[in-house]
């Protein structure tokens, strides 16, 4: 605590913003997980692998596509990859949902969890086999290189990291708006509540489930592309993150859209602050909070009580 009190305001703000960056990844990933769990009732353990795929697809698009098509000069830029890589992840996710995951809906949650865990190991294994376990670097796009000075706060931050926070918040808010304020979102909310009845009313729920899974993993792929220039692009990059993201979803409340966003951002900041107060405990802060929340409010901070 003394460290916190003696820290300069600039350093504190910088640390908070770093927490916000981590929180942005937590928010966007837990949002995808919450959407998928809400409608499919599947605990998607493959979400980390989908995040990894997003980053890898962007890296492959930048560095390998040209070689594959015999024109080494051709590459797909970051901005294009920001759209195309998540789309590719979404298409793969929808194919997996339609062919494999769908068979498990009538079974216990555990089967979905085991399947997606196995899928995650499979995808990570394939990419490790092809590209090795060591990370690949992805350059920061030129337009976002360098730093930006926030005069009012007296801090200087890398432009790219500011962009990550902005893009994540924008996507999270747009997703929240689409779910809570549009007719399409009303179908999703109704389907989350009672999919069988919604289907009897004439809504193609199986298609809705496929599209929802596709959108959930699109978000993971989008986060992966955002993360590529920040972290090393490696087959295991999603493994560590996904455990924290699951904790975020549990704290926010399984299936709660708003809860996933708010909790993701808040826990990123709390984790950032814990690095100042007691760095040794920062790795377990989120899990400690999860344990406390589970004891006091098992349905999560924003979840519906049974």
């Amino acid at each position: 605590m003394e460290a916190l009190l003696t820290m300069s305001p600039q350093a504190l703000i910088a640390q908070l913003l770093i927490g916000l960056i981590n929180g942005s990844f937590y928010a966007i990933l837990s949002l995808g997980l919450a959407i998928i769990f809400g409608l499919l009732n599947v605990i998607n353990f493959a979400h980390g692998a989908m995040y990894m795929l997003g980053a890898f697809f962007a890296w492959l698009a930048l560095t390998q596509v040209g070689t594959w098509i015999g024109s080494p000069d051709i590459s797909i830029s970051y901005w294009l990859a920001l759209l195309l890589a998540p789309l590719a992840v979404a298409l793969l996710g929808m194919a997996l949902e339609r062919t494999l995951l769908r068979r498990l809906y009538k079974l216990d949650h555990l089967y979905g969890l085991l399947f997606t865990f196995g899928l995650s190991l499979f995808l990570e294994g394939i990419f490790t086999q092809w590209w090795g376990a060591a990370g690949q670097s992805y350059p920061v796009p030129e337009a976002l290189s360098g730093a930006v000075r926030f005069e009012a706060l007296g801090v200087v931050l890398p432009k790219y990291r500011v962009w990550v926070v902005f893009a994540s918040l924008l996507v999270c808010l747009l997703t929240w708006w689409a779910i809570e304020r549009t007719r399409l979102g009303a179908f999703l909310r109704a389907g989350t509540d009672n999919p069988r009845l919604l289907r009897a009313f004439g809504v193609n729920v199986p298609l809705m489930i496929t599209l929802t899974y596709g959108f959930g993993v699109f978000l993971a792929g989008f986060a992966g592309v955002l993360a590529a220039p920040v972290y090393q692009v490696s087959p295991l990059m999603g493994t560590n993150l996904i455990i924290i993201v699951f904790a975020v979803v549990v704290i926010g409340g399984m299936g709660s859209i708003g809860g996933a966003i708010v909790t993701g951002l808040a826990l990123g900041i709390v984790e950032g602050l814990s690095k100042i107060v007691y760095p040794q405990a920062s790795a377990i802060t989120i899990f400690l909070i999860m344990a406390i929340v589970l004891m006091i409010r098992p349905s999560g901070l924003f979840g519906k009580t049974a």
């Binding site: 009303a186 509540d193 009897a200 004439g202």
Partner: protein, 247 residues
């Protein structure tokens, strides 16, 4: 009654029932719950499915709507077989379903619940017409659907299927647990719908509610129809009916 139907092309072909169920068997998982239900409803008729709790009335409606795990036999709507049709396509044949538990979506407001269902045929009621029929719903339009009173939720469950243009309505226990004044209100609504040419299959425990409304009654027991009583036969068969429905 039939002008609107004719305009929408919804009039049954002469001689073809609006709904025909023949030797219907259905299962939930391994449980065999219907054992050969047979009945039919002609356009513009109101029929009831009567029986004790657990007799198979609700399961019959759920099987028609494709909500059981498996079914065998014949279900035809205007001559078209729907027994193995995907559940989401059945409603688009012009069928509206009002489930026993009302099925109000908790995450949606009253108005969202009202406007959510896809339009399945032309000629559905407009929001204004619905609000005229159920004024309470207009006052509570922005409230969460599940926060309405039991009677209001029942009105909402009825109203939302009237918006879709469905002309064949499957209504499951719409008076259950409601105050007499609301039951009377719903009886008026069913009577009004019947006079407008809607075809209605009604499940009811409250026989005093159902008797004056229905053209025919089917008594279900152990998953099959065991007695058919027309409106004209009702006075002479009241004793049989009382015996069959006695707990």
């Amino acid at each position: 009654m039939s002008n609107a139907n004719s305009k929408n092309g919804l009039r049954s072909t002469s001689g073809v029932p609006m709904l025909k169920v023949d030797d219907l068997h259905a299962w939930y998982g391994e449980s065999h719950i219907l054992h050969g239900v047979s009945f039919e409803v002609r356009e513009g008729e109101v029929v009831t499915l009567l029986g004790r709790n657990g007799a198979g009335r609700t399961s019959t409606l759920r099987a028609i709507m494709g909500m059981t795990d498996r079914c065998k036999g014949v279900i035809q709507v205007r001559g078209q077989d729907i027994t193995t049709m995907p559940a989401h396509r059945i409603a688009h044949l012009g069928i509206g379903y009002c489930p026993e538990e009302r099925g109000i979506f908790a995450g949606l407001s009253t108005e969202e619940n009202l406007t959510l269902l896809p339009v399945v045929a032309q000629g559905g009621m407009s929001l204004d017409e619905i609000y005229e029929m159920f004024p309470n719903l207009k006052e509570r339009a922005k409230s969460q659907g599940t926060r309405l009173s039991g009677g209001e939720q029942q009105m909402l469950a009825m109203a939302r299927i009237l918006r879709t243009g469905a002309r064949l309505l499957l209504l499951d226990e719409i008076t259950e647990g409601l105050a007499p004044v609301i039951v009377q209100r719903l009886a008026d609504v069913v009577r009004q719908l019947s006079s407008r040419g809607y075809t209605i299959v009604l499940i009811e425990q409250n026989f005093r509610f159902a008797a004056p409304l229905a053209d025919r009654h089917y008594v279900i027991e152990h998953g099959r129809v065991i007695e058919t009583i027309t409106k004209a036969e009702l006075p002479s068969k009241q004793g049989v009916l009382d015996e069959l429905l006695a707990v």
